[in-house]
């Protein structure tokens, strides 16, 4: 009895399943892997790691960074300004329902893989995964958090990947004015409705085939299109790098338009800094090429040819996709380094 009572108490590994918000008009199938189910403890750990510069595996002033150094919540988890990586950023929202790979060409299979890529990339966190593990293992707080999340105080990089992936999957943006409109809780203004009509019609701005709408509320198909930005293709990392298909030259993922107003810069290379520039491009700047997607119906006219008034309506609608509650959540205001 005395011997038993002197044994150190072994904490039970009993993680709490995480209840991922599931708007009724979102897909029911998500990409949560069987070997990384979401738990409250895993999401909490991932959230801490996401914002912790110790993820660099080093200290001092030697360029320590975390995910949150560049992924700012108020900018749809993008940087909010041009950044010197090989491609512009994509938003980290509603990725639990992405099924087509990550990155502009879809070449990264999972969020877990994306964590590895970001941590080791020389233009991102630029860390050595072994050093990261050693560094975090020495801390006073992380071993306990890993134990609660994964059942072991021994930190592994696989569990670092899993925790951050869980956190990113928990980033659900579904409370914009447009969401409330879909739920019948709020009406759009006349200008916004006129913009939505343009968005959803082939004779209008013709956005919906790639960027969804009421029937595809992620506001993206998550598929890949050559949208007519260029007529010459020199980027070795477009979609054709993944598929090997000539017909995917110049094709990139259609990003979600949720919170698009705060997601500047736009396009895979960040060439546009304002929504007005983007709308002007689709109106008059579309370039024809052999591999332009067939859904770019108006390419022979150079674009959808909107009037200034129509452009304003379309922009008004795009602004209804901003989810202020999500962007301004005090839940994890991201520290900037």
């Amino acid at each position: 009895m005395a011997v038993t009572s002197c044994k150190p108490e072994v904490p039970q590994y009993t993680p709490t399943p995480y209840d991922l918000p599931q708007p009724s008009y979102f897909p029911t199938k998500n990409n949560i892997p069987d070997n990384n189910p979401m738990t409250e403890e895993g999401v909490a750990l991932g959230k801490k790691l996401f914002s912790d510069p110790r993820l660099s595996g080093r200290d001092g002033t030697d360029g320590i960074r975390s995910c949150a150094s560049c992924h700012h919540r108020e900018h749809n988890f993008e940087y909010g300004a041009p950044i010197h990586t090989h491609h512009a950023m994509l938003p980290l929202v509603n990725l639990a329902w992405n099924r087509t790979g990550l990155g502009w060409n879809g070449g990264v299979a999972s969020l877990e893989d994306m964590v590895m890529a970001a941590v080791t990339s020389p233009v991102e966190i630029n860390a050595d995964t072994n050093e990261v593990v050693k560094y975090l293992q020495k801390t006073s707080d992380y071993p306990t958090m890993f134990e609660k999340a994964f059942g072991s105080r021994d930190i592994t990089f696989i569990n670092i990947e899993r925790a951050i992936a869980q956190y990113v999957r928990s980033l659900v943006s579904a409370d914009s004015k447009f969401d409330r409109y879909l739920k019948g809780e709020e009406q759009l203004t006349e200008d916004e409705l006129a913009g939505y009509e343009l968005f959803c019609t082939e004779d209008g701005a013709d956005c919906f085939h790639c960027h969804g709408g009421g029937g595809l509320a992620l506001m993206t198909t998550n598929l890949f299109y050559n949208n007519g930005l260029d007529d010459e293709f020199n980027d070795p990392e477009d979609r054709s790098a993944v598929t090997g298909s000539h017909w995917d030259r110049g094709a990139y993922k259609a990003p979600t338009l949720r919170n698009i107003a705060v997601s500047s810069p736009y396009m895979h290379d960040g060439r546009f800094t304002t929504l007005d520039e983007v709308i002007d491009f689709y109106s008059e700047g579309v370039k024809d090429s052999e591999t332009i997607n067939p859904l770019m119906h108006h390419v022979m006219d150079g674009g959808v040819q909107l009037t200034p008034e129509e452009k304003a309506w379309l922009k008004a609608f795009l602004n209804t996709l901003t989810d202020e509650k999500f962007l301004n959540s005090p839940d994890d205001s991201t520290p900037k380094q």
């Binding site: 008009y25 029911t28 199938k29 004779d203 013709d206 029937g215 595809l216 198909t221 598929l223 859904l295």
Partner: protein
């Protein structure tokens, strides 16, 4: 008392026999194919010419068929499950449909809805891709595309222009009136469905027929974007009536047939079932017959 016991036993025996009688149901697989100019579809190749002399290529075809039914000898329609099938050239496995628990018997016709009718064509029916990506905006009538046939064609100036044959609910100019553009395809077949037979039906979409008979469909006339063009929708709806053809391929497990006999039998069935064999991909069909015959031959060898 003995009489009562005897009657009880007889009744129990009758019930037992009737309960243990195996259900008479069979399975059927439906193979979806496409033909253009009498040959199997090749995507992403500018190698086709339609009746209006448009040169074109097809990138992808995504479409729904629904409410498939077989007509039995008593002319009653037997509904098949599931009710809706999504077919996508980017998803090869979507072209093999397996239907189970069909009452055995002889069937003389088969019909289905091309697209979705009013019962199913409602926004929100699908929330998961790829079906949800077929959504048809509510402003344009709602629901889903019946079909997206995407590709390119050479326009009158020699430019490779986008081609998007998107079919769904049509509407008038101010969206105040909508038109259902789905149609029911009904085809005579000769299907003897048994429990011990691998029953296979081949459904082929003859793509050429979308663009001819009774209406000539010229890509230069209708252009690329036709979702808001009810004239184009109606034209294609009328042309679509003879777009589909069926054939039956019975791979009889226990019948010991020589390859030549099998080919002859298959051709007989094909000629009976497919009213327009000139559009068929005979090379593809014969290849499959030869393959099946080889398999039978091997099985025979193994059992000797």
């Amino acid at each position: 008392m003995k009489k009562v016991q005897f009657l009880t036993l007889v009744l129990a025996a009758i019930i037992a026999v009737s309960c243990t009688k195996p259900a008479s149901h069979g399975d059927m697989s439906v193979s979806i194919n496409y033909s253009v100019n009498g040959k199997p579809l090749i995507t992403d190749s500018l190698c086709y010419r339609n009746e209006a002399e448009n040169e074109f290529m097809i990138t992808e075809i995504q479409w729904f068929i629904s409410k498939m039914e077989l007509q039995d000898e008593r002319s009653e329609w037997v509904a098949l499950e599931p009710k809706i099938f999504y077919i996508d050239t980017n998803i090869p496995e979507s072209h093999a449909i397996n239907i189970t628990s069909i009452p055995v018997g002889t069937y003389k016709a088969l019909r289905f809805v091309f697209g979705l009718d009013e019962e199913y064509n409602r926004t929100g029916l699908f929330t998961d891709p790829p079906e949800s990506e077929m959504f048809w905006p509510d402003l344009l009538g709602g629901g889903y595309h019946y079909m997206k046939l995407n590709g390119k064609y050479l326009d009158t100036e020699g430019h490779l222009a986008p081609l998007a044959i998107h079919l769904g609910i049509g509407q008038n100019a101010d969206h105040s009136e909508f038109y259902q553009n789905y149609f029911i395809a009904e085809l005579p077949i000769d299907l003897a469905l048994t429990e011990n037979t691998e029953n296979q039906l081949d459904l082929t979409m003859i793509i050429d027929n979308w663009f001819r008979d009774p209406n000539l469909y010229d890509f230069n006339e209708f252009g690329s974007a036709i979702m808001q063009n009810q004239v184009a929708q109606q034209t294609l709806k009328e042309n679509g009536q003879d777009v589909f053809t069926w054939s039956v391929f019975e791979e009889q497990n226990n019948k010991d047939m020589k390859k030549e006999e099998l080919v002859e039998e298959f051709n007989r069935i094909m000629q009976k079932a497919a009213p327009k064999p000139r559009f068929w991909s005979w090379e593809n069909v014969k290849e499959r017959v030869s393959s099946a015959a080889s398999r039978h031959s091997e099985e025979r060898s193994n059992t000797k």
